[in-house]
């Protein structure tokens, strides 16, 4: 009984310590997911492979060859991880960055839309939050609409905004960025309202005894208090902004961007291309959120707020 509950000593088993943190379990789970992916790829691709064998009049193919062939189809139902990685390597490193076949080129298009939309959305969100915190009428009349604006499936409007703005002659980055803006302003507004209201009454009273003006109280008390909230909501905002950018690219007729890669891939049955665009979008989202996390750490440390 006691032996099993005592923690295993590190000297006898070097992996015990690893498994107690989060790194070990995460690695194990990722490996398990990859294994499931491979098995699923074999299972899902088998029917088509059997069809191919039947058409080529090949009977009793050995199992090992079947597995090998299912993982090397040109348009598999589910491409294997190594196929996706090979495609990504092909389209990022081996192609010129300016080529329309380069994934880097498409990622850059999506990234620039995301960043522009995120920037406008964050600014808008902060401005609305400042208005809401300082005006009771705005708080009561605007805040419910800000919240219900997100129950509207706004992505549904995405194609309309783009097609209509195209019709008036506004094309390029801005229409797509508007969708990103709409999706990313909401978390920022909600987070900033919470953050700007987070100073305690006693601190606001202290500012009052200093005879600080509203602006001074805002700059020296409310704004610093809101910074951690701002970063948390910016992380949500940039992820939402990326979704907006990708969906915004769908109706432009699959010209450029990760969303266009998805759409073109689904038109022509290029599953490997879809998956590589998908993984690229995931990597992009992960690194954008990670970058904001790093900025958060540095800023909070300099402000003396880091835990």
């Amino acid at each position: 009984m006691t032996a099993s509950t005592l923690p295993a000593s590190r000297s006898t088993n070097p992996f015990a310590g690893l498994m107690r943190g989060t790194t070990g379990p995460v690695i194990v789970v990722v490996l398990a997911l990859l294994a499931i992916w491979y098995v699923a790829a074999v299972v899902l691709n088998t029917p088509f492979q059997r069809d191919t064998y039947a058409r080529a009049n090949q009977s009793d193919v050995p199992f090992s060859q079947l597995v090998g062939d299912t993982l090397a189809q040109e348009r598999p139902v589910l491409p294997a991880p190594h196929q996706v990685i090979a495609e990504m390597w092909d389209t990022t490193v081996k192609k010129a960055v300016t080529s329309k076949r380069s994934l880097v080129y498409h990622t850059w298009i999506t990234l620039s839309t995301t960043l522009l939309g995120f920037l406008i959305g964050t600014l808008l969100g902060v401005l609305i939050a400042i208005g809401i915190v300082h005006s009771r009428v705005l708080d009561k009349s605007l805040m419910p609409w800000v919240i219900s604006s997100q129950t509207i499936p706004i992505l549904a409007i995405a194609p309309m905004i783009i097609v209509v703005l195209n019709a008036v002659g506004i094309s390029g980055l801005l229409p797509k960025a508007m969708i990103s803006t709409y999706l990313s302003f909401f978390p920022v507004t909600v987070g900033m309202v919470k953050g700007l209201r987070s100073p305690e009454i006693i601190h606001l009273d202290l500012m009052h005894t200093y005879s600080a003006s509203k602006l001074q109280a805002f700059l020296k008390l409310r704004l610093p208090y809101a910074v951690p909230y701002l970063f948390t909501s910016m992380k949500i905002g940039i992820a939402a902004s990326l979704v907006g950018a990708i969906v915004g690219e769908l109706p432009t007729g699959a010209v450029a961007g990760l969303g266009a890669r998805l759409l073109a891939g689904s038109y022509y049955g290029q599953t490997v291309q879809i998956w590589s665009a998908l993984i690229m979008a995931a990597l992009l989202a992960g690194s954008l959120v990670g970058l904001i996390g790093i900025a958060e750490k540095i800023t909070l440390k300099r402000m003396g707020m880091a835990q």
Partner: protein, 379 residues
């Protein structure tokens, strides 16, 4: 009457003065074109005079009581009605005086909201009504201004149809909208939402039992929650065909991870003290789960349910952009955009917005009923 009720704040003073002056100025200028003064249209004259008198009287400190506030509300609404009626007879030709009067009506409406926010309501019910009326009035004014601006400036219908046109289209094509709603919402969204949230919940309880999985899956779940999962839509359409099951699959994947992450962190929300208490009662794992940990996890679970209610609709609609049978909200939106029938698109969006808000409201109402004991609901 409370003292606070009578004393207007700075904003109200500015707004009332602006209302009066703008209305006075509009009385002296043209409504449409060059030779069509405001005073030649009886209802606009009445509206302008009303606004001018009320605005000036309020600014000078006369009618700052309940009857005055109600007069402000009615005159602003009457002016809005007069403006909308008149502008529809002279589309795309309005000039200075008309816009001055529109501005005056709008500041008058804002003045009423300002007064409403300052009312000292008696009783909880009245407070609730006021808290509901303020955003409602804001929405109504948004629609009024939208209508006036679109018809007044003659904005092309392709760019932005007026609310009245959208309403006409909405009421005129109920069968189509109902069929789309059935296909997208009643089939794909509801099934996907139930299956995705259910699966997330069950897996979360399993994960919670195995600490190893909790440590391994939770960071991944958190990461996946931030990913643009909507991108799997084309793959799902390829796997499950064009009909609603592929959309339901997208919805399941989109709703699964928020539910998983929230439920797992909700199950960790009960204190050690409370768990110790359950142990002193000799409660087993399942008893502790049902009587303590799940109720404590309720706020988290409802948070996920609320997030998912909007995600589900978005997922189903966007998945339809990748291929559908010839029915469904996403299909209708993408094809009608192509045919430049923008009013139909807006009608579809209105239906989607209504469905999304009702869905969200229903979940929020359920939350209020089930977690009435939680501090966030008592406030």
């Amino acid at each position: 009457m409370n003292e606070c009720f009578l004393r207007p704040r700075g904003n109200a003073l500015i707004l009332s003065a602006a209302t009066g002056l703008l209305a006075l100025a509009s009385l002296l200028s043209n409504a449409f074109g060059d030779d069509f003064p405001i005073v030649s249209v009886p209802r606009l004259t009445i509206a302008a005079v009303l606004l001018a008198v009320l605005g000036c009287a309020f600014a000078l400190g006369f009618i700052r009581r309940l009857p005055g506030d109600i007069a402000i509300l009615f005159s602003s609404l009457f002016s809005a009605y007069a403006l909308i009626e008149t502008v529809s007879e002279h589309p795309a030709s309005s000039s200075g005086g008309f816009w001055l009067l529109t501005l005056a009506a709008w500041t008058c409406g804002w003045l009423f909201v300002e007064r409403l926010a300052a009312w000292q309501a008696v009783g909880l019910g009245a407070k609730r009504v006021i808290n509901l009326a303020i955003p409602l009035l804001f929405g109504v004014w948004l629609l009024i201004l939208w209508q006036i601006v679109v018809t007044g400036f003659g904005v092309p219908k392709v760019l932005l149809p007026a609310p009245s046109e959208i309403w006409l289209r909405l009421t005129g094509s109920v069968p189509t909208l109902w069929a789309d709603f059935q296909q997208t919402f009643l089939k794909a969204v509801l099934f996907g939402y139930a299956a995705g949230c259910g699966a997330g919940f069950v897996i979360a309880i399993l994960v919670d039992r195995v600490p190893f999985l909790r440590r391994g899956l939770l960071p991944i779940g958190n990461l996946v929650s931030a990913l643009p999962i909507i991108g799997v839509a084309p793959i799902m359409v390829m796997w499950f065909g064009f009909d609603w099951p592929s959309k339901a699959a997208v919805v399941i994947i989109m709703t699964f991870f928020p539910m998983l992450v929230n439920t797992v962190s909700g199950l960790a929300a009960s204190d050690a003290m409370q768990k110790d208490l359950m142990r002193t009662y000799a409660a087993g794992y399942w008893q502790t789960l049902v009587k303590l940990r799940l109720p404590m996890a309720m706020p988290f679970i409802f948070n996920a349910l609320k997030i998912n209610s909007t995600l589900a609709l978005i997922g189903a609609i966007v998945a339809e952009f990748f291929g559908t049978p010839i029915v469904g909200m996403g299909f209708r939106i993408s094809t009608e955009v192509g045919r430049m029938n923008v009013d139909m698109v807006w009608a579809e969006i209105a239906v989607a917005a209504l469905a999304g808000s009702l869905f969200y409201g229903l979940v929020a109402l359920l939350e209020k009923r089930l977690t009435f004991w939680h501090p966030s609901q008592r406030g």
